[in-house]
Every structure is written in C-alpha cells, then in structure tokens.
C-alpha cells in the first residue's frame, strides 16, 4: 500500500471515465505531441510503404497505391506512457490484416515479430499477434482529415491497445522477424511490450 500524500484529494474522473482509464493515466481532451526529434516532412511523391519478410522479400506501395487499398474507420481510446489518455479518437487507415494479405500474394510469409521503422530512424517492435485480427492499422486520416505531420502524418502505425509509442509516427516499413528485438524506446529503458492495463511503462515493470 502506497503511503498517503498529506492533504491530497485530486480530481477524480467520473465513473464512466474511470472504467476507461488504465492505472496511472488521466484523461486529456487535447492531443499532446511527443517525439524525440524533429518532425520529418517527406513529400508524398517520395513516400512509399514497405513490408519485408524475414527472408528479405519485400512488397512496396507508393502513396497512391497504398491509399487505394481497402481502408476502414476505427474509433479507439489511446494511452500515452507519459500518462495521458484520449478517449474516442477516430482514424481511417488500412488494417494490417489487409496489408499482410496483400503481401502474402507477393510471397511474403508471416513471422512472429515485427519491427516498425519510420522516417527519421525511429523504430518500435511489436509481436505480430498484436497487429492482426483487426487490432492495428496504418492510419493516414485523423478525425476525418489528413493526419498532420506532428501527429505522424502522412501515415502512422496505430496499435491502440498498447502504449502509444508503439504506434510509430511517420511509419514507412514493417519488417517481419523470426526473433524479437528491441526498438528505439525499448532500448532506452521502456517496456518491451507496453500493455497500459498492466502499467508496463518501463523495463522491469511486470
């Protein structure tokens, strides 16, 4: 049991919000921006998206090809490791299931782990099982508009059930891997998996 903080009452969330908030999180109505370096601005003409198999085989889409793939609208709560949560965010993007099916047609086989790689060199690792069965997307619209660069546009990975650093901004590639390997924050003291409901913020959190 944690010791009491003398005189602390706090602003309790209402019951509805309380049930949606993972431990240690608070609700924000803003959409804070967090990134470790400058925002990349890649022209769409130079943008492509790559799916790479563990054997090195690749499938690549231009922006036009990519955004012509069947896409979906999805509404989710998102949880940042810096403690804010935002409820009911609406995105439009391509489900990873769709991308895997497209890639399979080009001979790319699934592997148990995935490394997402972004413009600017950011990386994050996610088990494939956390990206499939309607759990993750490459999103390029937010709230009905093109995703702004500071929030990861033109396209970002969206894995709403994990802490939001897993939802790599400016994503350009998903690389399938036979063995897990840590990405950027996962190498700098953050948790390898990052389940907000188990408060897996930092390496060593159970």
């Amino acid at each position: 049991m944690a010791p009491f903080s003398r005189g602390f009452r706090g602003h309790r969330p209402d019951a509805a919000a309380a049930g949606r908030l993972p431990p240690g999180q608070y609700e924000t109505r803003d959409f804070p921006v967090l990134s470790a370096g400058p925002t990349p601005h890649t022209p769409l003409a130079n943008w492509s998206f790559t799916m790479q198999g563990a054997d090195g085989k690749t499938a690549r889409w231009s922006w036009e090809e990519f955004t012509a793939l069947p896409h979906q609208t999805t509404t989710n709560d998102i949880h940042c490791v810096t403690k804010w949560s935002k409820f009911g965010t609406t995105w439009e993007g391509i489900s990873i299931d769709t991308l895997l099916a497209e890639a399979a047609a080009k001979g790319i086989k699934p592997s148990p782990y995935v490394m997402a790689r972004s413009d600017g060199g950011y990386t994050t690792n996610v088990p494939l099982a956390d990206l499939t069965n309607g759990k993750a997307w490459i999103a390029f619209m937010y709230d009905g508009k093109p995703l702004p660069a500071e929030h990861g546009g033109p396209a970002r990975l969206l894995v709403p059930h994990l802490y939001f650093w897993k939802s790599a901004k400016w994503v350009r590639e998903l690389r399938l891997m036979e063995n897990d390997a840590p990405g950027f924050w996962e190498s700098l003291g953050y948790h390898n998996y990052g389940d907000p409901w188990r408060e897996q913020r930092y390496a060593g959190d159970e």
Binding site: M1, A2, P3, F4, S5, R6, G7, F8, R9, G10, H11, R12, P23, G24, Y26, D30, F31, P32, V33, L34, S35, A36, G37, P38, T39, P40, H41, T82, K83, G120, G121, E150, D180, P182, F184, W185, E186, S187, L188, G189, H191, N192, Y193, R201, Y202, A203, G204, D205, E206
Partner: protein, 259 residues
C-alpha cells in the same frame, strides 16, 4: 520479453521534502532527499505518484532540475490550471512531507560531458528545467578547467513571456558572469521590463541563425518547451542544415500552448 526479465524494476521510493524554493510566481523547486537514489543523467525525469486517503492515485512526470553531482534531487514544478498534481505540489506540499517517486526515466533527451559539444539549448517556459540540469552538470563537471570549458562551449536561448517568469534567472546570470564559455540569451514575448535590450519576439529563423553554431560545428541541440515552440525550432534548425540526429526534443503542454 527476455530483455525485461533482465532489467531491474524502477521502484517507487519515498522521498522527503527538504526545502521548497520559490522560483517565479507560478513555479517552485522541491528539494528532495531520496533514499538510495541510483543517480541520473542531466535531462532525465521522474514519475511522481500521489495517493489520497481512500487510495485514489495520480501520477505525472517531472524533469529533474538538479545535476547528477548534487546530493539532493530537485524538481521544479509549474502550477497549471486544473492540474491536480501540479496544484498539490505547488500549494500543499511543504518541507517535511513525503513524496513518492520513481526514476530516473528517459535515456535519449540526456546530455553529459562525453556527449560533447558545442551544446545548444533552446527552451520555452518551464521547458528550461531539463536544460538547466545540463547547464548545472556542465558547470559542476568542468569545475575550474577552463580548457575543457572552451572545448565544450554552451549557449542557451530561453523564451519567456515576462521577465518575472524567467525561471533560474539569477542563477543563470551568476553562471554567465563567471564563465565566458556559457552564453545565455533571453527573449521575452509578452511584456518587457524598462531598458530591455534582449530579443522581444518568439524564437524564429533569424534568431536561430544568430544564436546557433553553424551546422559544420555539429552542435548537440536540446529543445524543450511547448509543442509549437519545439516544432518550429526543430524544423527550422533542420532547414538550416543541422543533422536531425543531433537535434533532440522534449515537448509538453497542450498543443495550443505558447511561450
């Protein structure tokens, strides 16, 4: 998850407030005694956790203001409207109280002597806090070694709304006075004191061209402040030719925040 199994858990520690130092009308520094603090690098932060009597808890992150050389850990907190934790830390907490925290956290927005220089720090408002830890660390680690100071010059460009909102104002002035290799440039965006000769606008391209070392010098750049400031400064420095890998950012506050 083998990497996690090997890492020790960052445990909650019960710190004691040794002193509370007012900095500006809306900020104050909490000086803490943290049992078995494992040490930190300048730029890192801690998570603070408050617990009400019925068990309700709130957590927030705060940048560490003190350099690794200090025996005490200092956090400088700004009172935010509606900030349940910041209001408690700003108004209720006093010397002798305890405070739960864990850390240090963050391994990217960090600077110490081996990272090298020149060191370019750009801050807005309370974004100065992790940058001040770097300034203080540089000062403590280099001590009286003037050659080392000349090899590792530092510049701080610091944007505040008003002169009385400049955090660490007197300490920065004292450091500059005794260290010719540290330059501090202020810009004030709302209200100017009489006789003000510093910058009087938000940080822009012309200001950065004047203040920043040229990209060929490969300055290590750290930018911390509200999102619009950080976005604009980082983007401008990259446009001016700085290597994005040497430009590290930390953002806070609502997307519309301004300094």
């Amino acid at each position: 998850m083998s990497a996690d199994a090997a890492a020790p858990r960052i445990t909650w520690r019960l710190a004691t407030v040794i002193d509370v130092v007012p900095e500006t009308p809306r900020t104050r520094t909490l000086v803490l005694d943290v049992p078995a603090w494992p040490g930190h690098r300048a730029g890192q932060h801690v998570d603070v956790r408050l617990t009400a009597e019925d068990g309700y808890q709130a957590e927030r992150s705060y940048s560490i203001a003190s350099p690794p050389e200090d025996a005490r850990l200092s956090l400088t907190v700004e009172e935010l409207t509606d900030g349940e934790v910041s209001q408690y830390l700003s108004e209720v907490l006093r010397s002798g109280d305890t405070l739960e925290l864990r850390g240090p956290i963050g391994g990217y927005f960090v600077w110490d002597i081996p990272v090298g220089g020149p060191l370019l720090l750009v801050g807005g408002g309370s974004g100065i806090v992790p940058l001040m830890a770097m300034v203080r660390h540089r000062n403590a680690a280099l001590a009286t070694d003037m050659d080392a100071r000349h090899r590792l010059p530092a510049r701080l460009l610091y944007s505040s709304r008003r002169w009385d909102e400049v955090i660490y104002r007197d300490e920065l002035a004292r450091l500059v006075e005794k260290d010719p290799t540290l330059e501090v440039m202020h810009t004030l965006t709302r209200e100017l004191p009489e006789g003000w000769t510093g910058f009087t606008r938000r940080i822009d391209r012309a200001m950065l061209e004047m203040v920043a070392w040229p990209p060929s010098e490969q300055p290590r750049v750290f930018i911390c402040g509200p999102t619009p400031l950080v976005e604009s400064v980082a983007t401008t420095l990259v446009e001016l030719g700085h290597n994005p890998a040497l430009v590290k950012t930390e953002r806070f506050g609502p997307t519309g925040g301004s300094v």
